[in-house]
Symmetry: C2
Subunit: 200 residues, 2 copies
Amino acid sequence: VKAADHLNRLSAQLGRLPGVGRRTAERMAFRIARDPEGLLADLTEALRNVAEQVRCCSRCGSITTVREDPCPVCADARRDGSVLCVVEDASDILAIEASGGYAGRYHALLGKLSPGGNSGPADIRLEELIRRVDAESVSEVVLALNTDVESEATCGYIRERLKEHAVRVSRLAAGLPAGSGIMYTDSVTLARAMRGRQAM
Amino acid sequence: VKAADHLNRLSAQLGRLPGVGRRTAERMAFRIARDPEGLLADLTEALRNVAEQVRCCSRCGSITTVREDPCPVCADARRDGSVLCVVEDASDILAIEASGGYAGRYHALLGKLSPGGNSGPADIRLEELIRRVDAESVSEVVLALNTDVESEATCGYIRERLKEHAVRVSRLAAGLPAGSGIMYTDSVTLARAMRGRQAM
């Protein structure tokens, strides 16, 4: 086997990471092979550490450690279990936690519906959501998905699926992001902000 | 240690890869932790394989396998050892080999001079180049570095350093890339192509 074949195997794996195209993956593989300041060993060690220590919470799908399942948020009795915030990814949970504006529990879908990208209802943690809504007597589901087309469609689908269940469904407000200017805001955002204008 | 700390350690390592900013590294770490279709194990295995099998050629700095040092190009007696093509990275060697337009040997600097990025002459394989020029009776050094400012400065520095040595120094032609249009070509490229215009 030639050296380039070993690097190709590595860049094929790197290409599975989000935002990494073929050329970028190749550059990464070469950089790793050049191994500046122990990069290869450090990266391998960090991966091994994640493999050993990090798990998905079996209840909410967020990240947690092997020793804490369910995760600290799920296990925290002070959290309001009647409100369930649905997100696409575990990273979204950390962002919402950092905002400090939410005291309920979470449910990460770990994906979204994508007709083109062959991700259907069975590929995301949707049945788990339905089960939790019933089993945990949830009174409100807050959809905190992204605002691209597929995420919006996923919201619509979940809304439909929850019609039969005794639960309110809400979604995050659409409108102007903080610190932005009207003239720099895209027209879809502006139209939604106008439609959702609030009395003050 | 919280799960997020494990991910932060991983994203710090991912952030050392070329073209990976802090946000991208975070997204990558979360994707790896979610571990779709065995990504974590596959990536770790590919890294282990590179660590075990791939080395830098002790002569030219290109990538090679543990069993082949010097690398196949350095060891190939049919290559013209009187011409030495100097590149920044091992990946450049593969690109030039793929072009089929070169039959000499290579020398990878594995970097370039970068006053701001604290990379000086001792941080690249420059002394190795000087030694090879003398030891291997090289008659021509072809500089095939990139065309950004730091690479150009590195070319100038190498040119100076080789003044005392009995060797011709050339560089790749500057001009229009194949398949491009005049109106889409930046003005620096156009000026260089005009200055270097060739009789036909």
